[in-house]
């Protein structure tokens, strides 16, 4: 039964690393601040949850596995809150999104 555990753990960790790679490429390639926030918050939460789930499968039913579950719950709560607070700060300070720049140039 140990090989089922190993294969499931390897699949979950590879899936999480793929999602984190997509988030990193998104933060480098997307043109706007709001789209960068959109790319990095959701894909990072899914990638970290997936890797921690793979490590839980590899660990088994122990106390450390419960702590890894606590890390998953904390990331799922805190990562959207942090991204939302940062983009709300940018919105209050009137940082323009990309598509309103042309309209503003036409009005001037």
């Amino acid at each position: 039964m140990i090989w089922v555990q190993n294969i499931l753990s390897i699949l979950l960790i590879c899936m999480g690393i793929f999602f984190m790679l997509v988030g990193s490429i998104g933060i480098l390639r997307l043109p706007d601040f709001y789209s960068r926030t959109h790319a990095v918050s959701m894909s990072d939460a899914l990638g970290i949850s997936s890797v921690m789930l793979g490590l839980m499968v590899h660990e088994g039913f122990t106390q450390n596995s419960l702590k890894l579950l606590l890390i998953i719950l904390f990331v799922a709560l805190s990562n959207p809150i942090g991204s939302h607070a940062l983009s709300r700060a940018a919105f209050i300070k009137k940082l323009k999104p990309l598509l309103t720049a042309e309209k503003q140039k036409d009005e001037e």
Partner: protein, 90 residues
């Protein structure tokens, strides 16, 4: 299985180095903090993988929890400072 953890930790280090470009050349200050937040959240996974690699996951998982709480408080403090009236004079 130890080899797999080692290789995934190396790949994850390369992934963590990518948002550093956005931190260096971001047009606004908000872009830099988004890059720093991405680096801080991905470092938690790297610490857990290093714990499995060394065989001391009982110690490293506590370090990961403390690091997660510190990164969350840090990004909330930065967002609160950027909305405050004191940072208008930049």
């Amino acid at each position: 299985m130890t080899h797999f953890f080692l290789y995934s930790a190396v790949v994850l280090t390369i992934i963590i180095a990518i948002p550093l470009i956005r931190v260096v050349k971001g047009p606004t200050v908000y872009d830099r903090f988004v890059g720093a937040n991405a680096i801080a959240t991905k470092t938690m996974v790297l610490i857990c993988l290093i714990g499995f690699l060394f065989g001391r996951i009982d110690m490293f998982v506590d370090i990961t929890l403390a690091y997660a709480v510190l990164g969350f408080i840090g990004i909330l403090a930065v967002a609160k400072y950027l909305t405050s009236r004191r940072s208008d004079s930049e």
